[in-house]
């Protein structure tokens, strides 16, 4: 195993969610928003497959990368058990991240659940834009990064499925109330597929641009095994691209091709 990353901290962020800081200078130096790490979660290789986790923040100077993750199954559970000082095996930064244009001035960011993690690094990297962030959570107990986005000067719109914080219902509802064609130069999306699809299609139907980060189960994480295929529009009709290498971030114009 290539134990290249040192765990600097690994702490509870909110219910079932952890924030891990890694000392991994090579990756920190190269990381771009939207890229991810592919992590060996068990120290004894009990699990074969790596787990993809987005880069939530990177500090090239300090050599640190932050990840935020939810405990969902055995892999993330084992990751949560890693202690400060442990060394873990991490590949990255992998994939194509978000495209940031210096001319952006009005930006919307729409995120749901764990999809919010990579959007924080994005928001930090957007520079002097006006950013509206729409964030949907299951419940108040799972609200993450709210203050962090505010500190970055973002306008935060919040919803919870159960109404325990912010708007009661889906974040797509809140977004569609605010969104008007022409309002944003770019709309960045990351979250559950149903959410992403709704936002991307809404924007696309107005002929506007979006970038969306997709999730898919992975094998290699580097474009070799074609396990993580997703459908995209191509010149010839419907084609497939790899989420791990061509993505995870795709242009909103080409994803969800079956709908138009």
């Amino acid at each position: 195993m290539n134990l290249n990353a040192l765990v600097i901290s690994n702490e509870i962020l909110c219910k079932n969610n952890m924030l891990m800081r890694l000392f991994v200078p090579d990756i920190a130096a190269k990381a771009k928003p939207g890229q991810f790490l592919n992590i060996i979660c068990s120290s004894d290789n009990k699990l074969i497959l790596r787990r993809p986790i987005s880069i939530m923040d990177a500090d090239a100077e300090k050599g640190c990368v932050d990840i935020g993750y939810e405990i969902r199954g055995e892999g993330t559970m084992l990751l949560a058990e890693q202690k400060k000082g442990a060394k873990i095996d991490v590949m990255g930064p992998l994939g194509n991240g978000f495209c940031i244009d210096d001319n952006f001035s009005n930006i919307a960011i729409v995120g749901g659940g764990i999809g919010i993690y990579p959007l924080y690094f994005l928001a930090k990297s957007l520079g002097e834009c006006n950013i509206d962030v729409f964030m949907g959570y299951q419940c108040a107990g799972k609200v993450i990064l709210e203050d962090e986005f505010k500190t970055e000067g973002c306008n935060v719109y919040l919803s919870t499925d159960d109404g325990s914080r912010g708007h009661s219902g889906f974040i797509t509802e809140l977004f569609s109330k605010t969104y008007k064609p022409g309002r944003y130069d770019m709309i960045f999306v990351c979250g559950p597929e149903i959410m992403s699809r709704k936002v991307v299609l809404m924007v696309r139907s107005n002929g506007e641009r979006s970038q969306v980060s997709l999730e898919e189960r992975m094998g290699c994480g580097i474009g070799a095994c074609l396990v993580c295929s997703c459908e995209v529009k191509t010149a010839e009709g419907i084609g497939r691209k790899t989420v791990c290498k061509d993505g995870p971030v795709f242009n909103g114009d080409i994803v969800f091709p079956e709908v138009d």
Partner: protein, 306 residues
């Protein structure tokens, strides 16, 4: 001690006996950031079909105890694109190029073999063992007559060495191997994946969109070692062994059981340097055990009770 890790399979000389297994290594270039491709014996490329294929729906992978189940379903750009876009790239390296072909029909195999005959590939690996496509392929691989038919046809269609990739989903893999040998195969490779299924008890559905998939990884290793040994005892052509190899020690199990070379598949996902690590490890084992030539290890298993 100077050790010779070269192996000769059907006239093709590999710098060492470690080959990346088909479907797990793309066309090699994907791993070139992690591995010096000159340092691994060969690369068996993603299974090719006559026409480009999009493969199965996702999810296409599930993790199982010490194994994985995949149902990629031969997504690939087609044999023509491979010839055009990938062979020139791979030709820059010392690593040998193994083209893995899978057909729906015998004439698919023939046509692909003909197309590849005048290219720079080194060996043609005839995949009659992919469990993840509805037509052809595995249907040929589970009977002696099916394997014989495909082997015979491909043999006629190409002058390249041919290696038949066998499925473990059979009662008697040694007989199947014999029927490949009888029709002119230069080598056999095994094992492909074992068909399996995992069910999500909450949704009550199979985890894979394709319902079933192929099991690979350490879980299958004891089965693969046994099969390599059975095939080695029955044929006289070289055997290329695989199934759950993670380390040099695993590789040497296969070599002792009768493999002339081995392939590493699933473990590349865990350790992107697996192929070169295994090659290095074999060299160290040889040095430690004063083995001058790796091919001298092939089949050197001593049976108990003999």
């Amino acid at each position: 001690m100077v050790v010779n890790t070269r192996v000769n399979i059907a006239g093709v000389v590999f710098v060492n006996p470690v080959i990346a297994a088909s479907g797990t290594y793309g066309f090699g270039r994907e791993y070139s950031d992690y591995v010096d491709l000159n340092k691994i014996g060969g690369i068996s490329v993603k299974g090719l079909t006559l026409q480009p294929r999009l493969g199965n729906d996702t999810p296409r992978i599930a993790e199982t105890p010490s194994g994985i189940l995949n149902s990629v379903g031969l997504q690939n750009p087609g044999v023509d694109a491979f010839i055009r876009d990938e062979i020139p790239y791979l030709k820059q390296f010392d690593t040998k190029i193994i083209a893995n072909i899978a057909g729906n029909t015998v004439s698919d195999y023939i046509e692909m073999a003909e197309k590849l005959d005048c290219t720079g590939i080194d060996i043609l690996e005839v995949n009659v063992s992919c469990p993840n496509v509805k037509k052809g392929c595995l249907a040929f691989g589970t009977t002696m007559s099916g394997v014989a038919e495909v082997t015979k046809a491909v043999r006629k269609a190409t002058k390249k060495p041919i290696m038949i990739k066998l499925t473990p989903n059979v009662s008697d893999i040694a007989s199947i191997a014999l029927s490949a040998e009888a029709e002119g195969a230069d080598a056999v490779s095994l094992i492909n994946t074992i068909t399996g299924m995992v069910i999500d008890v909450n949704t009550r559905r199979p985890v894979l969109a394709n319902n079933t998939g192929g099991l690979s990884g350490p879980a299958v290793r004891p089965v693969a070692v046994r099969m390599v040994h059975e095939v080695y005892k029955s044929v006289s052509i070289p055997v290329v062994g695989m199934g759950g190899i993670c380390s040099a020690e695993d590789a040497i199990q296969f070599i002792l059981a009768g493999a002339s070379a081995i392939m590493v598949g699933t473990w590349n996902f865990n350790n992107p340097r697996a192929c070169s690590d295994v090659a290095e490890g074999i060299k160290s084992y040889m040095e430690e055990n004063s083995i001058s030539d790796v091919s001298k290890l092939t089949g050197e298993l001593i049976m108990n009770g003999d």
